[in-house]
């Protein structure tokens, strides 16, 4: 029943093991030096100490919203991808294909809008 999730469990274990292993290995093999710069989380970029609620450009928000919307779109396409053969066997593959083309076309117009209005470029 749940055994089909075995591969995913193995993947999770591998991911966690890889991250933990790297930390351990670098701890064991790495050369220990201490400098002020090393105490920082990053050696370049924004200062890592300060108010956590720094104010960001609204553009970050726009990118996140666009990501979610297209995320949902791609997610909704998955059921079609895995059921296409079923519909093909039923003889309604063409109709279902037009349905999905309609779905993507509507969002395609949305994408064209976003692109045209500069939602995808950073400098505007």
């Amino acid at each position: 029943m749940l055994s089909q999730y075995g591969p995913i469990l193995i993947l999770i274990a591998l991911v966690l093991g890889f991250a933990a292993g790297n930390l351990v290995i670098s701890e064991l093999l790495g050369k220990k030096t201490s400098a002020i710069g090393k105490a920082d989380a990053y050696e370049c970029g924004m200062g890592s100490i300060g108010n956590a609620r720094l104010r960001l450009s609204i553009h970050f928000y726009l990118v996140a919203v666009l990501f979610i919307l297209f995320d949902v779109e791609s997610l909704l396409l998955i059921p079609w991808a895995v059921s296409a053969k079923f519909f093909e066997a039923q003889g309604v593959g063409g109709i279902v294909f037009t349905e999905i083309v309609g779905f993507v076309a509507v969002l395609g117009i949305g994408l064209a809008y976003v692109w045209n209005k500069g939602g995808l470029s950073w400098d505007r």
């Binding site: 109709i95 509507v106 117009i109 064209a112 809008y113 045209n116």
Partner: protein, 511 residues
């Protein structure tokens, strides 16, 4: 394949609206926002085609009865009635946008696109028995309304309106979804017809059966869903957003919220309540709890109209006054639903139709008045009656109608609402409503007094002939519908609605 095309024909009005919205968006992109008037004309043409298709459908439905398209869209005269008025109000709102001197023409493509998107949502919301599609339509309508309320980006009030609207809206959508999920868990279906009456072998349990077994979960689920609807139509205690949103949103958008969005919310509410609780002509098991829901709605109606009218008394801004007045009117319409008879439902539908005319007119006046003075407080109205007589007299007609006095359609609408409520044994509610009508007289006539009985303040004259013409036509319609020219056909249409709901003999047993 043929069945497929036939079903496409049934949702042709929705398809035309969708095509129109995408066309408007694409055209705006290609034109780079220039020639904004052309987009308005294109919208009007598309709406006209939709309206024509709906009229065809109305006739077709008379011959064939209720139709189902693609398993979840229910095409009946109830839905078509509301769709016709949605299209009508959309057309008037489009004209308002085109004629409104205050409205910036920047971003006009998005404006039309979102307005049409909102009406697509309203269309699906009023024409389905399936709670999933109903929720999706409601969300589409709400999403478009949130962004339209905040359309003036430079304006703080507009931003505040959008924020309040989206926060309250998100909360109520969550509450409603929770209620729907409980209903689904209890009955095993999302179809309102099956929920109201599940035949043997349909693979569902009717809500009445579940109510007999365990009343509390059913009551909670129903109240949660009703709360979502109550928010949409701004019934107390879910009305807090209304004045701020109405005030902050661009006035044409406010018009759409007060007329189109509210009517769609009421349509869905009536369908939901009707499918589950309508008490006439059904077996006794439903009557027992249908009456309780009716009593709950009656109390809500009484509180809503009283609070709305009392708050409206104290408003200095015409826009806020109209907002509270719309809350009060939600209370009147709710009376029809509370009576739990098809007669009451028909009365509610008739009153909503009447409300279309008079409220569109009142908001049109507001746009005209804002265009002339740049303000929206009642004191700035001084002398309007002498400077702009046609518009001012039209407004008087709308005020008379909103108060509910003869010879307008508002009077007749209230009359049949009162009859329906008395027949249902809600005489106390009728008395409260009558007292409320008297209260409303005070604040409606403060506007008229300000326009005619005070000395004019010096103003720069500004002419908006088109708007004046529309207002005139609306005023004439309001009076004629009250006098009888359109009254009987409208009454007939409204009576067709509940009859077409066909709640008890649903054939949706396929799922």
């Amino acid at each position: 394949m043929n069945a497929y095309i036939e079903q496409m024909g049934l949702i042709a009005p929705e398809l035309v609206l969708t095509a129109l919205s995408l066309f408007v968006l694409t055209w705006d992109l290609l034109k780079k926002g220039r020639n904004s008037d052309h987009i308005g004309y294109a919208t009007l043409v598309g709406l006209a085609v939709t309206g024509w298709l709906l009229l065809q459908q109305w006739g077709m439905l008379g011959d064939k009865g209720t139709q189902t398209a693609f398993g979840m869209v229910t095409i009946d005269r109830f839905g078509t009635f509301f769709k016709l008025f949605t299209v009508g109000s959309m057309a008037v709102v489009t004209l308002f946008v085109m004629l409104d001197k205050n409205e910036r023409k920047h971003g006009i493509g998005e404006y039309y696109f979102l307005l049409i998107g909102a009406s697509i949502g309203a269309f699906f919301m009023v024409s389905t028995n399936n709670l999933l599609l109903l929720m999706l339509g409601l969300e589409l309508l709400s999403l478009a309304s949130y962004s339209l309320a905040g359309f003036h980006k430079g304006s703080k009030r507009s931003a505040e309106a959008a924020l309040k609207y989206i926060v309250f809206g998100g909360l109520s959508a969550g509450v409603m979804l929770y209620g729907i999920s409980l209903l689904y868990g209890l009955t095993g279906t999302l179809d309102l017809g099956l929920m109201g009456h599940a035949p043997e072998g349909s693979g569902a349990v009717s809500l009445a059966t579940q109510f007999d077994a365990s009343p509390i979960p059913v009551a909670i689920a129903v109240v949660l869903v009703l709360a979502g609807f109550a928010y949409k139509v701004s019934v107390v205690p879910f009305h807090f957003w209304t004045p701020d949103v109405y005030e902050g949103a661009p006035t044409p958008v406010t018009t759409f919220l007060a007329v189109g969005s509210k009517a769609a919310g009421f349509a869905a509410l009536l369908r939901f309540v009707g499918a589950l609780f309508l008490t006439d002509g059904v077996d006794a098991s439903i009557v027992a709890y249908g009456d309780r829901i009716g009593f709950l709605l009656a109390i809500l109606a009484a509180i809503t109209m009283t609070l709305g009218n009392l708050s409206a008394l104290r408003q200095g801004s015409l826009k806020r006054m109209l907002a509270y007045s719309s809350i009060a009117h939600a209370g009147y319409v709710l009376m029809g639903a509370a009576s739990m008879t098809s007669e009451g439902f028909a009365a509610a539908m008739f009153y909503l139709a009447a409300y279309y005319c008079m409220n569109l007119g009142a908001f049109g006046f507001l746009i005209y008045f804002e265009g002339v003075t740049g303000k929206d407080d009642i004191d700035s109205l001084k002398g309007m009656g002498w400077r702009h007589p046609v518009v001012a007299w039209s407004m008087v007609v709308f005020l008379v109608a909103l108060t509910g006095l003869p010879p307008t359609v508002g009077f007749y609408g209230k009359l049949i609402l009162f009859y329906a409520a008395i027949d249902a044994g809600l005489a106390w509610l009728v008395i409260i409503a009558a007292i409320n009508s008297v209260i409303s007289l005070f604040y409606y006539f403060r506007v008229a007094k300000s326009m005619f009985l005070t000395e004019p303040v010096p103003q720069v004259p500004m002419r908006q002939h088109g708007l004046a013409g529309i207002l005139c036509v609306l005023a004439v319609v309001t009076v004629l519908a009250g006098l009888g020219a359109f009254k009987d056909p409208l009454r007939g249409w409204a009576d067709e609605g509940p009859a077409s709901l066909e709640i008890y003999a649903t054939d949706a047993g396929s799922r």
